[in-house]
Symmetry: C2
Subunit: 310 residues, 2 copies
């Protein structure tokens, strides 16, 4: 059994076609067919069910494919080890970002980053926090950006920034007297929130601890965008909170409904997260510096009461 044979198996499993798989592997079809036959012979089992069209996997075959992925992944880490040793900044780099951070943060740093490190092949994926955690652990992601703390044993978090929330109040006239909003002015039971990315720091508003926070509403937003939230709010369903960076590109009409909080502002902690035994530390470090560079300009840190997360 060779690693090459496993690559061939994975290619066929993925493309369900020997000819196409061979192309992807940059070899001719007979070469690939022979190698797979050899492997099947060595193991004494059939990996592929060639009677089906398109080609299918046998029962053992699918287990072998799963394991082959593990082996190939582990094998690829050898290159990462060497790259790290050489201080090489390049190669594939997979990053996961939660939906509520993606649209505002990614455009801010992507251009700077890929220009500064042209050898890195950045692969960005939008994922929710649960998927991010599992993919970081099994090596499908090199790092991620999400609301923290996650309190995961095997993951390391580096805080990128604290993003204050701004209240979005559809009927903003009634409290117009006060300039800055106090947290105590909010009726937390009536607030509209997304599931993801609303863990507040410093217990200013302690909402994330109740895992199934519903408030007075009879629905829960499992996922979705802040656009949805704004529209629901406009429909009279209540007040909502928007992360500061999201408020920057609202239209004027909506901006009028925003109300800043007084200090200490409720805010979310946004961090770079990676596995403790991640090898591409140099790239993570480069990414961290790039993001912190661009964010420093956008968020005035003095606005937020910084308290080191536990």
């Amino acid at each position: 059994m060779t690693i090459t044979q496993l690559y061939y198996v994975l290619a066929v499993a993925e493309n369900k076609n020997f000819t196409l798989a061979a192309e992807k592997c940059f070899v001719t079809q007979p070469t690939l067919s022979m190698q797979i036959q050899k492997l099947e012979e060595e193991l004494g089992i059939q990996i592929f069910d060639r009677t089906k069209k398109p080609i299918g996997l046998t029962d053992v075959g699918s287990k072998i494919v799963t394991q082959a992925k593990n082996i190939v992944n582990e094998a690829n880490r050898i290159k990462d080890i060497v790259d790290q040793q050489k201080g090489f900044i390049g190669g594939d780099f997979r990053i996961g970002i939660i939906p509520t951070i993606m649209p505002t943060l990614l455009p801010m740093f992507l251009n700077t980053f890929i220009k500064k490190y042209p050898k890195i092949n950045l692969i960005v994926e939008e994922l929710n926090t649960v998927d991010i955690i599992s993919k970081l652990k099994n090596g499908h992601l090199d790092c991620a950006i999400a609301a923290t703390p996650l309190d995961e044993e095997k993951l390391k978090e580096i805080v990128l920034y604290y993003e204050p929330f701004v209240a979005y109040i559809p009927d903003n006239s009634q409290n117009n007297s006060k300039k800055e909003l106090e947290v105590s002015d909010l009726d937390v039971e009536k607030i509209l929130l997304l599931q993801d990315g609303h863990c507040f720091r410093n217990s200013v508003l302690n909402l994330c601890k109740t895992n199934n926070f519903m408030g007075e509403h009879h629905f829960q937003l499992e996922s979705g965008s802040f656009e949805t939230l704004i529209k629901l709010s406009d429909e009279g369903l209540g007040t909502t909170l928007l992360p500061y960076l999201h408020t920057l590109d609202l239209n004027e009409k909506n901006k009028a409904k925003l109300r800043q909080f007084a200090n200490p502002k409720p805010s979310r902690e946004v961090s770079l997260i990676f596995s403790k035994n991640e090898l591409k530390i140099h790239i993570i470090d480069a990414l961290k510096n790039t993001i912190q560079g661009v964010v420093r300009g956008a968020i005035a840190f003095s606005d937020v009461e910084i308290v080191s997360p536990k």
Copy 2:
């Protein structure tokens, strides 16, 4: 990079000698030398420091060796997958047993087992519970026998038997009047216990929950045998509890100091433990049946109040 090359690297790392490593790999020394050179060239780094005597690893080298072990382990699992498919009962099978179970249980089933399954190459290791858990998770063990429950997410437990404890009372005359001992008769603060294997079932005696149980003594037995415990007890340091199977081969003098408990007897749950994605299920099943077969004769289950573990 090939799996063969990684095997060669591991052999050299282990033997610190190219010639010896080559023998272990059943190839000539130049073959092995060449392959390792080729790998080093492909990666563009030195794995071995050949200036040292005996040969040493470079910094990257040791990282690569660690990863190579992972890859080779994962690769070996392919064979396990195929074996499982074929229903093959054989090959290497690594089992860990905690010290307080090993001496009594292993002799009871080992002979029966290896005669019944001559194709299995059983490798038994005495390990404490902590090591067992980590080695099951990283694939260094195929299964283990320990006191349960462990409450480990990724591990599965199959209860083999409940082993009642018997009190060992050095000064057995004073309570001689009563025939069976009640748990309440014991002063739990004065009891001598081993760290391992003393998690009592059914909260009859609730000792394992206090992680650093010291009682009135000024010492803790981190490990050791029940022989030590008996001698300490004889020295007047207190009463102790012995697992039922251990009491069977005490000398007459010591047996006189034993006192059975009344029902419900305090007992320990002994289970077969394995990773949830362990492939050698057939072997584990064979082992379970063998052990339960021999234990059924030794422990009268009616003696123990069986309550299903939570």
